[in-house]
């Protein structure tokens, strides 16, 4: 008899503040498992952002700094430059990273800062009640696109992984999803790879994770997973967009 799955030591015992079915919880667990498995918990500083994951500093069992909206990559740069041997990662949502924080994320990658970015894309501003995000799908109804996102007026959703892959300083960029057990296992491999790259001094890595917001989307938790797989992944293709290590 052997325990083959239990809560990782990379998480504190504080219950998540996320809505029932929200896959932020899965992503938290994956990040925490990777930190534990790579033996990084005693040298990691997490940078929490603003949005649903604002409280993530309560959940990761490591030191943490809560950053202003969009500024997590700049905060991470500040930490990493004075502690180059420590592991520094940001945990950001789509409003934080792809809207108010586009300057910071792009420039941190351009500097080639040896940090890891966990980018949770759920196509909505969840914390503030379901407003349109930069990644909201065309036609998707939110509280600020009540007739569906009109791309002629509100623009096309922004594909961050593709954008970031163009940056010479970015070492590893991958997009994964949390739609089913198989894709969650893949997501974990991607996150682990990103932390390994940082551990080995490989440079800037970002893992974009398509995630659910069943409450904001007005779907059941199970139907929200289907929406990730069928609707989000259709617009945001999965895959590795940049792998400097493999190219060399």
């Amino acid at each position: 008899m052997a325990v083959i799955f239990q809560k990782t030591k990379g998480l504190t015992d504080t219950p998540f503040t996320y809505c029932p079915g929200c896959t932020h919880g899965i992503i938290h667990r994956l990040v925490a498992e990777c930190l534990e498995e790579l033996d990084l918990l005693d040298r990691t500083i997490a940078i929490a952002s603003v949005g649903c994951s604002v409280m993530s500093y309560e959940f990761f069992n490591c030191d943490a700094i809560q950053a202003a909206h969009g500024r997590a990559p700049a905060v991470a740069t500040g930490v990493k430059r004075v502690h180059p041997d420590k592991i520094v990662f940001t945990y950001q949502g789509d409003g934080d990273l792809a809207s108010i924080g586009t300057g910071e994320i792009v420039q941190a990658a351009h500097r080639g800062d040896n940090i890891t970015v966990i980018f949770v894309n759920n196509a909505i501003y969840g914390m503030t009640g379901g407003q349109m995000a930069p990644t909201t799908l065309p036609g998707q109804i939110t509280t600020t696109s009540p007739y569906g996102r009109d791309v002629t007026k509100q623009g096309e959703p922004i594909r961050m992984a593709e954008l970031m892959a163009q940056i010479p300083g970015a070492a590893y960029i991958e997009r994964v999803m949390t739609a089913d057990p198989v894709s969650v296992r893949k997501a974990k491999r991607a996150i682990k790879k990103a932390f390994e790259i940082q551990k080995n001094g490989g440079g800037f890595s970002m893992i974009e994770i398509l995630s659910s917001c069943n409450i904001g989307w007005g779907l059941s938790p199970v139907d929200a997973l289907k929406y990730i797989k069928e609707d989000m992944a259709a617009y945001f293709p999965l895959g590795v967009f940049k792998d400097k290590g493999a190219a060399q």
């Binding site: 918990l41 500083i45 905060v75 991470a76 740069t77 430059r81 004075v82 420590k86 910071e104």
Partner: protein
């Protein structure tokens, strides 16, 4: 160490390095560019980290990160750039992080101009950021004092775990003066609270945070901050009194304009007019008590600023109606001459 002739901005940067600055995060803006340039040239050589950030916003947030991780850190900018930094300064104040912000002020509002001005007194002392907080503000009147205040700023910031601003007008940044920089090692305060990563061996997680969703917790935090500011107001006021012993009129000025005011005082004294100077060296905490005491002995006070009148409101609060408080100011990069000050004093004396 002997005196060297140095440009204010460079002397400020050198003083910061001498004070053990671990990391500097800057962004170009006139008239403070030489600070960034000097740091880029010399900070790494002394083992520190230099980053030219993508914006003032990013720079102050890098400061927030580095300070949160226990480093002795600094940024510098000028008026519109300091405006952009307010978000990060508020976060630093909220999370009680020690850091130094050097502000080399220019004219405003908006893009304003690039010549010296003091229109940022309110921005500095009231905080341009959100929430109930205070930033210690030191105002040097020359290059030598600017270097001493930079050193002081690191010390005060760590002593109180609070952002400290050194606000110098553009004159100080750009002019050259003989200066002797203190190179004695500056004691480092223990930072057991810093998020340095060793959560497991420490046995406790260190979290840097300014979020308190429970109103009881946030009020307690606000009260604790207020108590800290009370201590700062009690212990850290710095003010220079010049020829105030027998003065009938008190002039109030800070920064380089205070030197022009001194010349005016000497001219007026030669004419038999007994004028003195009160020079706040800390704009926060402001020398309310000292100015209030002075008001008992003079006919009136006159505040001279390179603005349309900002510090004058604090002087009026300090005087509390005991005697009149007049104002004379120039702005936009225009600087008053001693004669303008003596004319202003005489015009108010003339009515008697």
């Amino acid at each position: 160490m002997s005196k060297m002739l140095m440009k204010g901005n460079e002397a400020i940067a050198q003083a910061a390095i001498a004070a053990g600055c671990d990391a500097f995060f800057g962004y170009p803006i006139t008239p403070q560019n030489e600070i960034c340039e000097y740091m880029s040239k010399y900070l790494a050589k002394s083992g520190g980290a230099f980053v030219q950030a993508e914006s003032e916003l990013a720079a102050i947030n890098m400061v927030y990160g580095a300070a949160g991780a226990g480093a002795r850190t600094m940024t510098s900018s000028s008026s519109p750039g300091i405006a952009l930094k307010q978000e990060g300064i508020s976060y630093c104040a909220g999370a009680e992080l020690p850091c130094v912000i050097v502000a080399i002020s220019r004219g405003g509002p908006g893009l304003g101009g690039i010549l010296p001005a003091q229109g940022d007194y309110n921005q500095a002392t009231r905080g341009g950021g959100n929430g109930d907080y205070k930033v210690v503000v030191l105002a040097p009147n020359g290059v030598q004092e600017a270097t001493e205040m930079v050193r002081d700023a690191f010390l005060l910031s760590e002593k109180y775990r609070n952002p400290v601003m050194v606000m110098a007008d553009g004159v100080i940044g750009q002019m050259m003066e003989p200066v002797e920089i203190n190179t004695d090692p500056l004691p480092k305060f223990e930072k057991p609270w810093a998020a340095t990563g060793e959560s497991q061996s420490r046995g406790t997680r260190n979290v840097i945070n300014s979020l308190f969703l429970n109103p009881v917790d946030l009020e307690n935090h606000n009260i604790a901050l207020r108590k800290k500011y009370d201590m700062i107001e009690e212990n850290e006021v710095q003010v220079d009194l010049y020829m105030m012993e027998d003065a009938d009129v008190a002039l109030v000025a800070y920064g380089t304009p205070s030197r022009i005011v001194k010349s005016a005082i000497e001219e007026m004294r030669a004419e038999g007019i007994k004028v003195g100077l009160i020079r706040p060296k800390t704009l926060y905490p402001f020398p309310f008590k000292q100015i209030n005491a002075a008001a008992d002995k003079v006919k009136f006070l006159l505040t001279a600023e390179l603005s349309m009148g900002q510090m004058v409101h604090d002087v009026r609060l300090a005087v509390n109606g005991k005697v009149p408080v007049y104002f004379y100011g120039r702005a936009g990069g225009m600087i008053f001459e001693p004669k303008e000050i003596s004319d202003a004093v005489k015009s108010h004396l003339g009515g008697e």
